[in-house]
């Protein structure tokens, strides 16, 4: 996908086991505009 001549973006997700009783999930989107 081309969003423009200076723009990039990133979509990521992850799951993390913090300890046996605690689990974290996250979804992150990042966009960068360079000039």
């Amino acid at each position: 996908m081309f969003a423009g001549p200076h723009f990039s973006m990133d979509l990521s997700g992850q799951a993390e086991v913090i300890d046996p009783d605690t689990t974290a999930y996250d979804v992150a989107w990042q966009g960068v505009y360079r000039f």
Binding site: A3, A15, V17, A24, Q30, V32
Partner: protein, 256 residues
């Protein structure tokens, strides 16, 4: 009569316990939010700085490449949804916390140095407990790219937060620092990233009716890794801590 006295004592004990639980749970929630916020800000900054490591912008099918050094200024933003689940009622009987983060940042590249600053807003809600927590964090950062596969970065975060969780109203100020060493390796359509670092975090909470408390300063060493497949050559960075599964999809643009 004995039954009435027993009930009264039990009710008093329950009220006393709940009065103690509320601020304790609120403080735990705030602490968890602060911890996750620091981690997410750190990951967003690592990801941002990592983009300038050995990156060549490629137009798919055209094979045109341009060094990323042509663009010295970067304005960036990150939106994150974070869910923390607690099993077995380990968090005051709550199932978990939902945290929403929005970060905007700016940096400028001076040769191998990338100094920048970011501002993050955070909103959090705890399951089965009324109220929420809101906070803001300012994080100056500095990245230094050593070569095409290795860079280091450091950041400082200063935060202000207010929470009204379970009827316990509190304000907090916090600070954290982090220093990371990052490795980026790519081969064909595959990319592997890894990072190791150290984080220090400290906060002071002021709970209405309970005074101020300083959190125990926490220090931790982190190690993270990520392996990602890509549909085309596209160096990227997606560091994470203790990650058991990661999927990353990225679109990059061409520079014609």
């Amino acid at each position: 009569m004995y039954k009435l006295v027993t009930l009264a004592v039990a009710a008093g004990a329950l009220l006393g316990a709940s009065g103690w639980w509320m601020p304790a749970a609120a403080q735990s929630a705030e602490d968890e939010v602060a911890k996750q916020t620091a981690r997410q800000i750190s990951d967003a900054i690592s990801k941002r700085v990592g983009e300038d490591v050995g990156v060549v912008y490629t137009a798919p099918g055209q094979g045109m490449v341009t060094e990323s050094g042509n663009f010295l200024n970067s304005a960036w933003g990150t939106l994150t949804y974070n869910r923390v689940d607690f099993d077995g009622g380990t968090f005051g009987g709550s199932d978990g916390v939902n945290i929403f983060l929005g970060t905007v940042g700016y940096d400028h590249r001076f040769d191998n140095f990338i100094p920048g600053i970011s501002v993050t807003g955070a909103h959090a809600k705890v399951d089965q407990v009324s109220g929420s927590s809101d906070g803001a964090t300012v994080s100056p950062y500095l990245g230094y790219i050593i070569n095409d596969w290795f860079f280091v970065n450091a950041l400082v975060g200063v935060s202000l937060a207010n929470s009204d969780i379970g009827g316990a109203d509190s304000d907090s100020t916090g600070v954290f620092t982090e220093e990371d060493a990052n490795v980026v390796w790519h081969d064909g359509n595959w990319l592997a990233t890894g990072k190791a670092g150290h984080r220090y975090r400290h906060s002071r909470d002021h709970e209405d009716g309970f005074g101020s408390t300083d959190s125990e300063p926490t220090r931790c060493w982190r190690a993270a890794r990520s392996v990602t497949g890509s549909t085309r050559y596209c160096p990227m960075s997606a560091p994470s801590t203790n990650t058991i599964s990661t999927s990353t999809r990225r679109t990059m643009i061409s520079s014609i």
